[in-house]
Symmetry: C2
Amino acid sequence: MEFRLIDRIRERTAQGREDVRLGIGDDAALVAPPAGQELAIAIDTLVEGVHFPAGTDPADIGWKSLAVNLSDLASMGASPAWALLALTLPRQPAEHVQAFIDGFAEGFAQLAQPHRLALIGGDTTRGGLSVSVAVHGFVPPGEALTRAGARAGDVVLVTGTLGDAAAGLQLLQRGARVDEGDGRAAFLIERLNRPTPRLAAGLALRGRATACIDVSDGLLADLGHICEESSLGAEIEAPLLPRSPMLLGAFDERSARDLALAGGDDYELCFTVPPALVAEVQGDLARLGCGATRIGRMVEGYGVRVRDEQGHWLEATHRGWDHFA
Amino acid sequence: MEFRLIDRIRERTAQGREDVRLGIGDDAALVAPPAGQELAIAIDTLVEGVHFPAGTDPADIGWKSLAVNLSDLASMGASPAWALLALTLPRQPAEHVQAFIDGFAEGFAQLAQPHRLALIGGDTTRGGLSVSVAVHGFVPPGEALTRAGARAGDVVLVTGTLGDAAAGLQLLQRGARVDEGDGRAAFLIERLNRPTPRLAAGLALRGRATACIDVSDGLLADLGHICEESSLGAEIEAPLLPRSPMLLGAFDERSARDLALAGGDDYELCFTVPPALVAEVQGDLARLGCGATRIGRMVEGYGVRVRDEQGHWLEATHRGWDHFA
C-alpha cells in the first residue's frame, strides 16, 4: 500500500529537485541542503474526529494535512522544500482504500506542486485514520520569524480574514451542504477544508516582522503565544478584526466576532511590525493577494486584551466573549 | 499536553547541540546542517495492535519508536542528529496520560541520549495510540549505503542474530511473562521491545558494503528488496543463519529457522560486501559488539532462495518454510 500511495503523489508533484539525491524507496531519503541556509522543520498530525470531521473528502484531508504544515513554515518565513508523510488508515475493503488514496494523493499534490515541494518519504500503516506530515524549508541564518521578537509599541496585524474556518465547521455540524444557498456555506467550508498557507506573505515579512505565528488554535490563543515568548501583552480592537462578507452574512455580529477571536483553523499569519513599517508591509501583502489588517498593538504587560466598539474590555465566558461583569 | 511530553524528553536528552538554532516551542525548529554533508531522512509509525501489542510498557514504546527510525539511518550509514515526534493518545484520565508520558519519555530518552540525538519538534493529539517519529542524520555525499549497489558474487551478511523478536512476540501471545523461567523469555521479549539500532555498524560499513537494509519485515522480505533494487538474486544457506541460544532453547530447530528467515522486527543490518572485504568487515563488526555472519551470496537472477543443510531448496508454505514438494 505504501508505495502505491507514494507513487500516486509522486506522479502528481514536481520532479527534478536537484537537492533530492535519493527519493522514496530506500530506508531513508538523501537530500543535499543548500549551503549557508538554515532548515525550518515542523511536524503536525491530523486525526479524524479531532482535526477534521468524519466523512471529510479524502482530497481535502490530503490538502489540509500538508497545508497546516506549510503554514508552520510560512510563519517562520521559510520556503518549502521537502515533506514526509505518515498515513494511518483503517482496515477496509481494497476499493475503499484505493479510493481514499487516490483522493488523498490528488489533494496533497494539488498543494505541493505549485510550491515545488518534493515528497521524499512515507509510511502507511493500519489503524484509526490519521495523518502526520513533516516539512522542511529553507531560511537564511538569522532571518527566521519567531514568536519571541515583538516589542512594545509594535502593531499587530493579520493576513486575510478570521473566523471563516470555525464558521464552516459550525455549518457542517448543523448539517449544511456545500452546494446550498448563496455560496456562503461553500466559501466557509472551503476555508475549513482547504486552508491557504501564507507562504509568500511569510517570505515578505522576513526582516520586517518582529514576531509571527500562524492562527491555528484561534487568534487569542496564538497571539497569546507571541505575548508569552516576547514577554509582553497585546491590546486588540474587536471592530478592526477582518471578517469575510460570507461570515458576516451567515452569522450575527457577536457570533462573527467571537469566531474571529477564538475560532481556529484559519491558518492566517498574525504578526507584529514596528509602526514605521506598517504601510509598506500592508502594501506588499495587498499585492500578494492576502492583504494585512492592523488589529491592535503590543504593550507592556501580560496576555491579550480585547476592546469592543464602545471601548469596553471584553472577557471570555463559556459562550464566547462578553463585557466585564 | 504537547509541551509536558516534550519537556520530559528534553530534560532527559543531551542538550547543547550547536546545530540546533531554535528547538521546540515555536511553529518550526531551526537547524543548521553541516556544510558538505547530505541529510538522510526517514519516518516510521508504530500503531498499537499492529507494531506492538496492547499493554506494552510505555517506556518500551518510546524506545522502539525511536529505534526503528534510527535503524533506518543505520542502514544508510548515517549518523543521527535530530528527531521529530508525533504522538496520538486515547482520551483517558489525566493520571494515565501522565504515567504514559513519563514512561514514554524515559524510554525515548534512554536511546536518544547516547546518540546525542536532539528532539527538535513534537505534536501530541487525541486518537488511537500511535507514534510517528521522523529522524535526520548526516552522511558524506556519495557514501550512503543503499539497497541498489550489490553485485553478483558479493557475500551476504547479517549483524547480530535473527528471529529473536518474532520469537518474543510468539511467547507474549502465548501468555509468557518476562520474569518467568530461565531468562529465555526475558531475552526474546527484550529483543522485541528494545531493538538495538546498529548505528556504529552502519558507519563501519560505509565505503565497504555494496548494499544494506535493516531487517524490519523479515530477512527474506528485506533481502528481497536488495535483490530487486540491485537486479540480482540471492542464495541463503539456512544452517548459517545466526540464531541466539535463547531462540534455540525456546523453539525447535525448524521453528527457529523459520523465525530467522521470516520473522520481522529484529532491526539487524543485512548487507552485501565483496568477498575480499568480508574478513576485515567481520573483524570490525566483532569489535563493535554485534558481529556479522555470512549467510549466503548474491547471484545473477531474481529473488531470494534458501538451501537447507542437505543442500535442498526450501519454499514458503502457509506454516513456514519447507522442501520443494
